[in-house]
């Protein structure tokens, strides 16, 4: 083994290290020339297109379906009802055993007997073109008997409210309580107690490429090949096989370019399962691409929480206790297989997480309702926990007349206190709240901003500054899903191969969603094996090709997949050097691989190129000494074990202006300091942070899935559902503090979700800072002009 422990040379700063360098992503040129391969672009011979007849009612019994006319329509291949499809695809129930008491009802690929939300598929129409399928879908006659919908989560558990799934007994999917420390005593002894109700609107991912799948059942091979925009190919392989009655090796999932995921494309969707089942039923390829309206009514929605929060504080700024009561509505089914209880569970886990306070009481209730399904989306639970925590901390500061920076300084867990844990039991290996806060305050020029704020206030301009400290779950171990019985891998693998010209191919089980996973894997392999990065090609997203693994979610690809790639690269280096040693009559330990050549480890003098050693190994193995068998492929896997999650931390700040006449909020600047451990590619990390922030700013100000009391989505189009566009978004400054995880040699934690975790909290606090002269506050997001004007008493 080459020695990585020589002075000044860790695995990360080897002579040709790419760790910490902003190298461009290898796949950008393809995407820039419009030569990506998205599932939407796929065409296969004999391919049928499916369109779905979807329920116009939030809750209705399906009395009868008459498909006769649709079946006669031009180009139609088949019209299939839920009952017919159930012969090919078994239903599923979205529960996990470690979420005690979580219950849900069986969900079918296409509804059987009853529709439980507006937009649920009632029948599938397959035709030669999508347009023909849509035309025919309009000819399917469905008799519905409308049932009373349950839409208001506040009354979902009331005795008079209908129970959506009578066999479950009530509309409560899950409940969790936590009581740590001495909460009652802390409130009794507090100098001030402040409470507020925080509301979080339902919103959704709006990936620019909608969900898309092409399923190709080949009866001749007995194999189903599924081209899918997914974050978790192996999970999908397992689930599709399971519900279609196939063995896992009969299913291959291929994931090429994906037009945005963000957690939207990590779940099992009924209509995608239907497409796979239809391919098997019809013995030909079937394509389904959601249109935008379908995306709004069937892509998972997120958030939709109302949290009652209470904080106890002493005059010196010490926080005495946090108490929360969270209520969230998840639609009619818990999503499969990750469940819809994870977000509320995370809220309970995360509230108060950055602070030393040990007194914490929480309750979370998760209820069913007749709206679209709700599940994990980027930064699961974090924006809620962060907004509640940081909103309460600011209210506490206001109550005792303390600056928001000062109250955080006095309560954030000290940087030298690690390892430690939170009141809710989260384990922290090494965080940097104070270093992050100090850096942020310096970056933003806090004192000058405050002075500007005061000056402008005198001119009737109302600007606000808001902070949000946060912690973020990354690199999850099996504690997330595996322990609950889900076949969702928490480990990842990498196979690195030296080919006959000295170039390297790495097959990795993480997936590329545009975040740059393939770039990061290439950087790590180039570094640990010792070649110029141009020589490394990374292959992801094919269950026939890559090692088994989890994929890309929960900020895990770089930290877990990256470590597997690092170790695989090292192992291959060892294999190659053992052969080089035999050829060069040197001990392998005295050699190294740098810049694509075998060199003397001491002097760096080149001994032979990798192309030469590959030539000998592959074409002239007869010249090698007896007993030397080159093994120029190495595979390694990695999973974190010491800590269930590698928590990251950071802090965000927002500077904005509230127009008190129109209610509009203008974002002026946004700052983030975050600590994701080793930064493999600074540019990619910064862009993950910025993109994440904007996905938090959207729900803070604009994004909201609006339902009426009958469960009808009122704004299911991009014209009506507002997303952040370039003109409204601010420039975002990003800074870093680096506390590597010592669990892995790479030391990287995740960076994909931190931006989303704290952005809305910073904005809410900034708006309330701006509104403070008016003695009013807003604790519901999105903070629309209407809400601002109402808070000001102007409408």
């Amino acid at each position: 083994m080459s020695d990585d422990t020589q002075p000044g040379l860790s695995a990360l700063d080897r002579p040709n290290s790419y760790i910490g360098r902003s190298v461009p992503r290898p796949n950008l040129a393809r995407l820039l020339q419009g030569r990506g391969q998205y599932v939407s672009d796929f065409v296969l011979p004999r391919m049928g297109h499916v369109a779905f007849v979807r329920s116009p009612y939030a809750h209705a019994r399906i009395v009868a379906i008459d498909a006769a006319e649709a079946k006669r329509a031009p180009g139609v291949i088949a019209v299939v009802t839920g009952a017919e499809l159930a012969e090919v695809c078994t239903p599923w129930v979205g529960v996990l055993s470690h979420l005690k008491g979580l219950k849900s009802a069986p969900q079918h690929a296409v509804a059987v007997d009853r529709a439980c939300w507006q937009g649920e598929a009632i029948a599938a129409v397959v035709a030669r073109t999508r347009a023909a399928a849509e035309d025919a879908a309009e000819l399917v006659q469905v008799d519905y008997e409308e049932l009373e919908p349950v839409t208001d989560m506040a009354t979902a558990l009331d005795a008079g409210t209908p129970v959506i799934h009578p066999e479950l007994g009530d509309n409560l999917a899950f409940e969790r309580r936590l009581d740590a420390g001495e909460v009652d005593r802390a409130f009794a002894e507090a100098d001030a107690v402040v409470e507020a109700s925080f509301g979080f609107g339902r919103h959704t991912g709006v990936t620019l490429e909608p969900r898309a799948i092409v399923a190709d059942w080949n009866p001749g091979e007995g194999r189903l090949t599924v081209y899918q925009g997914t974050q978790a190919p192996h999970m999908m392989q397992n689930i599709i096989a399971k519900h279609l009655g196939l063995a896992e090796p009969q299913v291959r999932v291929v994931c090429k370019d994906v037009g945005g995921s963000f957690g939207i494309k990590v779940h099992v969707y009924a209509d995608e399962m239907a497409a796979a089942a239809l391919s098997k039923l019809l013995r030909r390829p079937v394509k389904y691409v959601a249109d935008r309206v379908e995306s709004f009514v069937t892509d998972i929605h997120a958030r939709d929480h109302v949290v009652q929060g209470r904080i106890a504080v002493m005059r010196d700024g010490r926080i005495g206790a946090f108490e929360i009561d969270d209520l969230t509505g998840i639609g009619p089914y818990s999503m499969y297989p990750r469940t819809s209880a994870i977000e509320a569970n995370q809220v309970v886990n995360l509230v108060g997480g950055p602070y030393t306070c040990r007194n914490y009481r929480a309750r979370a209730r998760v209820v069913f309702q007749n709206k679209n399904v709700m599940c994990q989306y980027r930064a699961v639970g974090h924006p809620i926990a962060c907004s509640v925590t940081e909103g309460l901390v600011d209210l506490a500061a206001q109550a005792i007349g303390m600056d928001p920076v000062e109250i955080r300084r006095r309560n954030l867990v000290r940087d030298d206190a690690y390892p430690t844990d939170s009141a809710s039991g989260l384990k922290f290996e090494a965080l940097s709240h104070h270093a992050s806060l100090d850096k942020l305050v310096a970056m933003m020029g806090y004192d000058a901003l405050r002075a500007e704020q005061v000056r402008l206030r005198e001119q009737g301009v109302h600007r606000g500054i808001g902070f949000a400290s946060f912690i973020e779950v990354t690199n999850p171990s099996a504690a997330f899903y595996g322990v609950g019985g889900a076949r969702i891998s928490s480990q990842d693998g990498a196979t690195v191969r030296l080919d006959a010209t000295g170039a390297v191919v790495c097959q990795s089980s993480v997936t590329e969603q545009g975040q740059g996973a393939e770039s990061v894997i290439a950087q790590v392999v180039a570094t640990s094996f010792g070649v110029p990065i141009e020589r490394v090609r990374v292959v992801t997203g094919d269950t026939d090709v890559t090692p088994y693994g989890g994929g890309t979610w929960a900020s895990r690809a770089a930290g877990i997949g990256g470590e597997a790639a690092l170790q695989a690269g090292k192992a291959l280096r060892e294999n190659v050097l053992s052969v080089a040693g035999a050829i060069l009559q040197a001990t392998p330990k005295s050699l190294d691989i740098r810049e694509g050549a075998v060199v003397d480890a001491d002097t760096g003098r080149e001994r032979m190129g990798l192309d030469e050693i590959a030539r000998i190994a592959y074409f002239r193995p007869d010249t090698l000494p007896a007993g030397v068998q080159p093994e120029f492929v190495a595979t390694r896997h990695y999973v974190p074990k010491k800590f269930p999650f590698a928590f990251t931390n950071g802090i965000q700040a927002s500077y904005l202006e509230v127009d008190t006449d129109t209610g509009f909020v203008r974002l002026l600047r946004h700052w983030v300091v975050e600590d994701c451990g080793t930064v493999i590619n600074p540019q990619l990390v910064d862009e993950q942070i910025r993109g994440g922030v904007v996905q938090g700013l959207g729900p803070a100000l604009f994004e909201h899935c609006l339902y009426d009391e009958r469960g009808q989505l009122l704004n299911g189009s991009m014209a009506d559902y507002l997303v952040p566009m370039a003109a409204e978004m601010p420039d975002i400054a990003v800074g870093h503090v680096v506390s590597p995880t010592l669990e892995s040699e790479l030391g990287a934690k995740g960076a994909g979700e931190a931006g989303t975790a704290g952005a809305a909290a910073a904005v809410m606090n900034a708006v309330n800072d701006a509104l403070s002269p008016f003695g009013t506050r807003i604790t519901d997001i999105p903070i629309t002009p209407e809400r601002v004007l109402k808070a000001l008493g102007r409408v």
Partner: protein, 157 residues
């Protein structure tokens, strides 16, 4: 209906149904899948193409309306090298993640730079405000367009 037009410099004739929009025509008839479809309501900008020198939403123009027109898509503009500087700036700045908005974004940005040699960051944000990007948060895109504008000024001066 029979239509004849020029796409990326090549003459094209085809029979299309009157309801087929230009983006579907380009993607499905001609296999030019670089033009992406995001909302089909003219809001997201993913299907932006150049038609007779102006940028249009491919989903808001019917294929039959393009009769006799000259259409350029990202594939043609890439092969001709016309937007190579913007593409290089996008690559250097990582101004794309999933890449789905990118063809439309490039064509919209090029439209601005053809008309405005020194746009401010606000001008760039305003001009691109009809092109939705869910990944980047826009700042990298604004940076890349700013860089390309500067470079174009440098080479034309």
């Amino acid at each position: 209906m029979e239509i004849s037009l020029t796409v990326n410099g090549e003459p094209v004739s085809a029979a299309v149904s009157p309801r087929t929009h230009l983006a579907d025509f380009l993607r499905e008839e001609l296999g030019l899948t670089g033009t992406h479809v995001g909302c089909e309501q003219g809001v997201c900008g993913a299907c932006t193409v150049r038609l007779d020198g102006a940028i249009v939403r491919g989903c808001l123009v019917l294929a039959v309306q393009a009769e006799g027109a000259e259409v350029w898509t990202v594939e043609g503009l890439s092969d001709s090298g016309e937007i190579a500087d913007l593409q290089a700036a996008f690559e250097a700045r990582n101004a794309l993640q999933c890449g789905y908005c990118t063809p439309g974004m490039l064509i919209a940005a090029d439209d601005l730079l053809r008309r405005e040699s020194a746009p401010s960051r606000e001008d760039i944000r305003e001009h691109l405000s009809g092109n939705y990007c869910r990944c980047t948060g826009y700042q990298a895109i604004v940076d890349a367009v700013e860089t390309a504008a500067k470079a174009r000024r440098g080479t034309s001066a």
